[in-house]
Amino acid sequence: SMNPDLASERQTASFSVEKLTAWLDGGAEYTRMRRAVVEAIEGDPVFSREDQYFQSQNERYEAAVKKAVHLHKKMHEMGWTENGPESKYIHRALAGDVAFFLHRIFMRSISMLGSDKQIAKWIPLATQYKIIGSYAQTELGHGTYLQGLETTAVFDIATQEFILNTPKISAMKWWPGDMGRSATHTVVFAQLYVHGKCYGIHPFIVQIRSLQDHSLCPGITAGDIGPKMSFEHSDNGFLMLQNVHIPRENMLNKFCEVQPDGTYVRWGSQKINYFTMTSVRISVISDEVISPVMKACTIAIRYSVVRRQSKLKPGEEEAKILDYQTQQEKLLPQLAAAYAFHFISNYLQGLFDRAYREIQRKNFNMLPELHALSSGFKAIISQCCTSAVEICLRACGGHGYSLLSGLPSLYTKILASCIYEGENTILLLQTSRFLIKCFMAASTGQPVPPSVTYLAAVKPGKCPAKNKLDFLRPDIYTEAYQHMAARLVSSTAAKLQDLIQSGVKKYNAWNQCTVQLAQAAKAHCHYLTVKNFVETVEKMETQAAIQKIMKHLCDLFALHGIFSNAGLFLHDGYISGVQMDMVTASYLDLLPVIRKDAVPLVDAFDFTDKSLNSALGSYDGQVYQRLYEWAQKSPTNKQMSPAYERYLKPLLHNKLSKL
């Protein structure tokens, strides 16, 4: 039966949840397809995640391998393919809790970086799981800064082989998934040496385990890197190479080759490598970041209408905690952000698709903008969503800390996204490098990409808002964001110029401005997110009820950003102190408005109970019963702990009194 407090929330929805779901999915036919995939996966007991909170690292790993093997079979049965339209729904349904993710990256890197001949040799083996691959880039001593990698591959003309080595401990490959226990092969990134000359980082296919008995190959030391904050299911590994010989043909040679006589030849554009990184970052945003934050909002908001605590009015029943302004102020901005980032993620995907079509036509012009945007957005979205999930966790009081709430594992997993695929600070600085360059170009009248044309028109001004309702006008707040972003970019550029002109070396000047540069990059992305939200809402004219609630969310997202970064908007007087009070008033007024639709707004994300895997967030709201029953299944309650016989009993039987 449905908890009456949740039921009443659903009765008063101002819009059709089903229609919003379909719109979020991109059409009702996609909703149907997604639900069919989810049903097939969740109906299969092998994929159950019910026990995962009770399992050890070894058990999680084993379950992930078992699921991966089973998935292979399942896909065949269902007629799903790796690149079919279902694949993203499969990923969503499994919540990433499956092995061989890096195996897919292994195949993707061979397809992108390998020659036709190499593709023909390796891809069928990998597709049939005759080999299992990984992707070994990061080392103990180096992550995001790839040029610093220390693994070496020296070409030996005599044997026509590359000799791979880990020359020192910091050069050991560290972190690659599937490599600790599963992989038989891996793509290794190493500094290529021919005739004593270093040609930089190149990819090599290296066999690391026997195809017969899975034992390590000669010269290979590999294993699991030990427990992490999350990703218990994944055997992130280490790899040390000692004089490992591989044939010349194992260097991936779509773009360059070492010929038999040692001649190094390079062809084609390296720019395409950026394209791979970009594509990975964009998929990280939608799959690894936005989906978890939507889940966290679903759990926290549903729980906040089931949980009653303290009284708002004497003599009345205890209030739902979502009726407290402070609780609304914690959760509703996160909900608005989940929507905002979902829309910007769609925008990035669109931009990516266009760029891809251009690249097919050998036009690389869109790449710098795409690269800058995907870097900056990966950074701010992963950072905002990580903190959003943590806010959701802490908004659930004590029960949020139980693994059974589902929130701790969402948190520990999403926070890794701030680091992998490029550490966030470094990514923001890449975006700001692009912004400064465009600002300089724009100020000298040169053409710049569309997302940054606003930088050309930096002018002092004042926000025209006259009362708090004016701050519900998208043109007013979008303009404020634009002004703020342009101001931060231009003032940072000016400071950089000043420093350089005063004789500070360029690299030093850059380092001295990095805090501001990162802030400018964030401001730019924040502005684009608001602008895109506004445009998305404007475009959906056909569904008035949904458009109305989306407009409220858009206002909330924008005003929350101004409220929380008040200093940035007040700084040059663009928004006055009096106007800032209007912003605050409008912002706080929106909370109870969105409050009314909070549950329908999370219902629209359409996560099944199994995919939430949370005692607090289930659709029927039977929170306490579920928590109690689930806790009783904990192994700590099933197995007799040896602690009693060994330690507690002697303790209780009064050994101490002898002292």
Binding site: Q57, G398, N511, Y644, L652, N654
Partner: protein, 666 residues
């Protein structure tokens, strides 16, 4: 396999420090003698083979619980053997034994025994205290229920007095009334102090405490009518058996109600307690511990992140030069140094509250409770402010360590999960902030009606003087000198005054528009929380600044002054909106502040490692491969990983079970 030499980068850092870390350590400990004694106790624990064990990161939850129980029993015996009885020394000992983690006897030692002392009658103490002291009785404190936490009046467990048998009948009438979370309840305890709504003669008399036996002495099996168990895995706290307790018509004798204050007579007559103001004292004490914990946890995380940042080299600053230490990047300094300054600030705040508490406790015995309400209100807010800040700060430190921060070997995930629940326990932080706000609004109202207020809120007195002038309080010009800590204290004071006044006025406006007081309060609560935060921030800057004048060594004072300035200026730069809107600072000053923050980063940089060395965490206590004192990070990372449970066999059993069958089928 570990190297005994010190990493050259760390050696250089230490040689370049401008002050002696030991002197700063003494200040943090409260004197050279305290440092000596702390290290003595530390050595006692760390050199004791009984307290050695495998790295906890590689153990399952059950194994971790077992290790904790083993060590806790030994700990109790050894404390007595060594005659360690001073609360602070016990705290150190326990903290070294358990490396700062919770342990299953925490509630027995920290709540069950003290509650017996303060709330049991002499007769009850005779029955329970010595057995509990000797651990024949292990008790816990069962307050929180599934449905209720911070809001105690909402608890649903009932204790109904039956005069016929002279017993209380305890019941958990609903699922939500099941006791949930108490530490040591799941597996360890055989008794619990249970908080329940007392019913006698057909009337509810509110919450009272009862001693309830829950497990059979001898077999440790749950007693009939008792359902008890572990609440399952959590975010951290693996050592702790947080438990649930459900009671069905469970009878206990009348004499098991803690009756030092309130009583139920044999015929069921209820006798009211005299005063419960004293319970404030316990809360103040526990919250002061959390403030101290915020400081220590953040210090540990800073130690790890800063040492690692001095060891790690990455990318290039200057073309053609070797990769620089990541601590040389401005963005890295900007992440870590304000947190380092914060850790110091919180240390001094924690020490201040503890001292004030001890001073007032003396007064309490003499009957002077006048300062208690303010201290109670202040510690609620400071508990929330420091735990929120430290919580976010620990995560910042972890992120600043890149990928390796995410590995458990960094130790930071463990610090985080152990610390983060303090945002919720002992009073949920938002609720705490609102308690402080209630006091602030009350003080503001007093000032408005012409009375004077004292203590940390005395700045509100100035408001009434300004009210004569028609202009907004904030328009009062403050001449802020950004290199003078005292002047920055004034700036923070002005901000707090402005936000308290704004919240109080908004509250009044809501009250004028609406009927219910509670509704108005709720609609102002975001403003009220902001006011409390500003007040706490002011108090912290003030206390940090005040500490500077107490430091006699010039070199130490100089470096702490830099940290104090950084703390204050960074706080301004993160809240420029408040200072600009109130007219406390001009645009130009705000720009100067952010410029000065960056200059201070460079000033503090040479002392960064020495400043974390001064926290003086032993490697064993730090529990971090990245934060090792000798800086030999990479080789030890490798050694650590080899011990991972997944590496127990070279070929994992999953290969034979799953991979091989699949490969052979394809």
């Amino acid at each position: 396999a570990t190297m005994t030499t010190m990493n050259p980068d760390l050696r250089r850092e230490r040689a370049a420090a401008t002050f002696q870390p030991e002197l700063l350590t003494h200040i943090l400990d409260g004197g050279a003698e305290r440092t000596r004694r702390r290290k003595e106790i530390e050595a006692l624990v760390l050199n004791d083979p009984d307290f050695q064990h495998e790295d906890l990161n590689f153990l399952s939850r059950s194994q971790r619980y077992e290790q904790a129980i083993r060590k806790s029993s030994l700990m109790v015996m050894k404390l007595r053997e060594y005659g360690i009885a001073d609360p602070e020394e016990i705290y150190w000992f326990k903290s070294f034994v358990h490396r700062g983690r919770p342990e299953p006897l925490d509630l027995h030692l920290g709540m069950f025994l003290p509650t017996l002392l303060t709330q049991a009658t002499p007769e009850q103490q005779d029955r329970f205290f010595m057995p509990a002291w000797n651990l024949e009785i292990i008790g816990t404190y069962a307050q929180t229920e599934m449905g209720h936490g911070t809001h105690l009046r909402g608890l649903e467990t009932t204790a109904t007095y039956d005069p016929a048998t002279q017993e209380f009948i305890l019941n958990s009438p609903t699922v939500t009334s099941i006791k949930w979370w108490p530490g040591g309840l799941g597996k360890t305890s055989n008794h619990a102090i249970v908080l329940a709504q007392l019913y006698t003669q057909g009337q509810c008399k509110g919450l009272h405490a009862f001693i309830v036996p829950i497990r059979q002495l001898g077999t440790h099996e749950p007693l009939p009518g008792i359902t008890v168990g572990d609440i399952g895995p959590k975010f951290g706290y693996d050592e702790m058996d947080n438990g649930y307790l459900k009671m069905d018509n469970f009878r206990i004798p009348r004499e098991n109600m803690l009756m030092k204050h309130a009583q139920v007579e044999p015929d069921g007559t209820y006798v009211k307690p005299v005063s419960d103001k004293l319970t404030y004292g316990t809360m103040v004490f526990i919250r002061s511990l959390i403030v101290g914990d915020s400081a220590r946890s953040l210090s540990r995380a800073c130690t790890i992140a800063i040492r690692y940042s001095a060891v790690r080299h990455q990318s290039e600053l200057k073309p053609g030069e070797p990769e620089p230490q990541i601590l040389d990047y401005q963005t890295q300094q900007y992440k870590l140094f304000p947190l380092l300054a914060t850790a110091y600030a919180f240390h001094f705040v924690g020490a201040y509250i503890k001292d004030t508490y001890h001073r007032i406790s003396g007064d309490i015995n003499e009957g002077d409770l006048s300062e208690l309400p303010e201290l109670h209100a202040l510690t609620a807010g400071l508990k929330a402010f420091t735990s929120w800040t430290a919580n976010a700060g620990i995560e910042e430190c972890r992120m600043a360590c890149g990928g390796h921060g995410y590995s458990r070997c960094s130790g930071i995930p463990d610090i985080y999960v152990t610390f983060t629940p303090s945002c919720t326990y002992e009073g949920e932080n938002t609720v705490m902030m609102l308690q402080t706000a209630r006091f602030l609004v009350k003080s503001y109202t007093q000032v408005s009606s012409g009375q004077q207020v004292t203590g940390m809120v005395s700045y509100l007195n100035d408001l009434s003087r300004q009210r004569i002038q028609p202009q907004h309080v904030a328009a009062r010009p403050v001449t802020v000198r950004i290199n003078d800590p005292l002047s920055l204290v004034e700036a923070y004071k002005a901000r707090a005054a402005r936000l308290v006044e704004a919240a109080a006025k908004n509250l009044q406006a809501e009250l004028n528009h609406r009927k219910s007081k509670e509704d108005a309060w709720n609609r102002t609560s975001v403003d009220l929380v902001r006011a409390s935060e500003a007040h706490c921030h002011y108090v912290i800057v003030k206390l940090f600044t005040a500490k500077l004048s107490e430091i006699s060594n010039a070199a130490v004072r100089a470096v702490l002054t830099e940290l104090c300035l950084l703390y204050a200026l960074y706080g301004i730069s993160k809240n420029t909106g408040d200072f600009l809107q109130a007219g406390i600072l001009s645009d130009a000053q705000v720009t100067q502040v952010s410029q000065r923050v960056k200059e201070l980063l460079a000033v503090i940089r040479p002392n960064a490692v020495a400043l974390v060395d001064s926290f003086d965490f032993h490697d064993a206590h730090l529990g971090s491969v990245l934060g090792r004192y000798d800086g030999n990070v990479y080789e030890n990372l490798f050694e650590w990983a080899k011990k991972s449970p997944l590496n127990k066999t070279e070929v994992h059993e999953s290969f034979h079970k799953h991979l091989k069958p699949m490969q052979s089928k394809l």
